[in-house]
């Protein structure tokens, strides 16, 4: 292992000796065998039930299938980005209220944050689907997904941002104030940029959650990746193959996001 990338593993465990190395080798082989056996069992079961039949998989040789999933992916990205941006700014406002010197604002924002964190996303979705229209407000499908998902995530983002602000040493504020900078200027030019660096990985993790929450789109009939996958399933009766491909697409996106977050965190340290 490279010395430059010392991980928590190096801190917790000492380098293995000869006995430990042998034990590790045995456990590695055994677990690989077990995994292989499991995979064979699963594939055999699928073969027996006909899930591996060509008719379920041949749809993925067609351009139109991918184009349809592509539309869905665009929908997912649009919803996730819209919700993500709203989440960030709503979280920022809530956090600033939470650390404000005005007590009423502080209490109000604390309550809002707890509300946002405590209520399941699905409840917010139903609120925008069933309750909001009763007041005569007709929202496009995109907003019926993006708003509830953002509302559900902004409380966590507020707390993540607050932890970042608290992690910035007090001396940074004092230095800014002693130079004659005003509180707002000191916050946005000195404190917040440093706080943001501390919490970028946590924020991107929250973006992954937002992206996954957009799968609630099917409830409000918004065409995201999940919704379009469900259309494919009902059209071709291809449950396993479509779900598998869809899952792989979601995994790839979220894996990429996590890679970005690690890269950004390393760059800014």
């Amino acid at each position: 292992m490279k010395q430059t990338q010392s991980s928590i593993r190096d801190v917790l465990y000492e380098a293995p000796g000869p006995k430990a190395r042998k034990r590790i080798a045995v456990i590695t082989v055994l677990s690989l065998l077990a995994l292989a056996a499991l995979a064979v069992a699963v594939i055999r079961r699928f073969a027996q039930t006909g899930q591996l039949d060509a008719r379920y998989w041949s749809i993925f040789t067609r351009y139109t299938t991918w184009r349809f999933l592509g539309y869905g992916l665009t929908g997912t990205m649009t919803a996730a980005l819209t919700a993500g941006v709203i989440t960030f700014f709503a979280g920022l406002l809530l956090m600033m209220g939470r650390i404000s010197s005005c007590k009423v604002l502080r209490v109000l924002c604390t309550v809002l944050i707890e509300f946002s964190r405590g209520v399941p996303t699905l409840l917010f979705i139903y609120f925008f689907l069933l309750v909001v229209p009763q007041f005569g407000i007709r929202l496009p499908a995109l907003w019926k997904v993006a708003l509830p998902v953002a509302i559900s995530a902004c409380g966590v983002v507020a707390e993540v941002l607050r932890s970042g602000v608290n992690a910035v040493p007090k001396g940074q504020t004092e230095a800014a104030l002693s130079l004659g900078m005003q509180r707002r200027s000191a916050f946005f030019k000195i404190i917040f940029p440093q706080a943001l660096r501390y919490v970028i990985p946590a924020l991107i993790s929250e973006l992954v959650i937002v992206l996954k929450d957009t799968t609630f789109a099917y409830i409000v009939n918004y065409s995201d990746l999940m919704q379009n996958a469900r259309v494919l399933i009902s059209n071709y009766d291809a449950l396993l193959s479509v779900y598998l491909v869809t899952a792989v697409i979601y995994i790839l996106i979220n894996y990429a996001l996590n890679k970005i977050s690690v890269a950004v965190a390393r760059r800014t340290q």
């Binding site: 940074q172 004092e174 230095a175 800014a176 004659g180 940029p193």
Partner: protein, 257 residues
């Protein structure tokens, strides 16, 4: 380069910092007891005393990083406002150098020095940069201008902090134990910069444990203990003839090792 408008340290020079009957409590602890102190233009006042004597707190009340319970603080004749733009304006006229440097860790050395002149004084980026480079050259760290603070030694960081304070053309600079966090071999380079500032006529209030430096540079020594000013004298008088038992004990305990 000259950092102050004029170099007079005469007895009738205008007072820059005036504290009268300042009291402060931390909970039940009475940390500043009826402090009155006047610092004139061009004067170098060194505050010494045992830890917990209130000298850092006193230093920090002068630009209201610590609030006071009663009494009055005036900067260049203006009473220190309690908040807002007026407080920020007055703070901009009093520089501060901290024990832990407190350079802005996400900004380059050059940006550390230019941010306040641009943000507070409304200078152009170009003008602020040119002046910042002059100041960095003056304190001997101009070759580090594009680095970030973490890449510099403690002594270099503290010299940048001094340049950052000077960039605001302050009427006075407060030094709160500026060498206490430094390795011994870096203390000298920071004290040298401070000595040359004093020679140029900068008004300075310095909290320090560096007795030789205090003796050499100070116009006046303030000895504090238990939140009160016990002695106020010229360095020669104070170090050779301390008046109070407490000051004698303090000086003995320092010279003992």
């Amino acid at each position: 380069m000259n950092f102050s408008e004029n170099n007079t340290t005469s007895a009738n020079a205008a007072p820059i910092i005036e504290l009268s009957h300042v009291d402060k409590h931390f909970g039940s602890l009475h940390v500043l007891k009826d402090i009155s102190l006047t610092v004139k233009k061009g004067e170098v006042v060194v505050i010494i005393g045992p830890s917990g004597s209130g000298k850092s707190t006193l230093c920090r009340t002068i630009n209201r990083l610590e609030t006071i319970d009663s009494g009055e603080i005036r900067i260049d004749g203006t009473a220190l406002p309690e908040e807002g733009k007026k407080l920020a304006l007055l703070r901009s006229q009093v520089g501060m150098v901290f024990q832990s440097f407190n350079l802005f860790s996400h900004k380059t050395i050059l940006d550390n020095v230019t941010i306040a002149p641009i943000d507070v004084l409304g200078k152009s980026k170009k003008e602020a940069r040119a002046e910042a480079m002059d100041l960095l050259k003056r304190v001997g760290v101009d070759s580090q201008a594009s680095k970030v603070p973490a890449q510099l030694s403690g002594g270099q960081q503290q010299r940048v902090a001094i340049a950052r304070a000077l960039a605001m053309h302050p009427k006075a600079i407060l030094f709160d134990e500026p060498t206490s966090a430094l390795d011994p071999e870096m203390i000298g380079e920071v004290l040298d910069v401070m000595t040359s500032l004093a020679k140029d006529g900068m008004t300075m209030v310095i909290v320090t444990h560096e007795m030789n430096f205090a003796r050499r540079v100070a116009d006046r020594i303030i000895f504090m203990d238990g939140g009160s000013i016990l002695e106020e004298n010229t360095p020669d008088e104070f170090f050779s003839h301390p008046q109070t038992k407490r000051a004698q004990d303090f000086l003995n305990s320092i010279q003992a090792h």
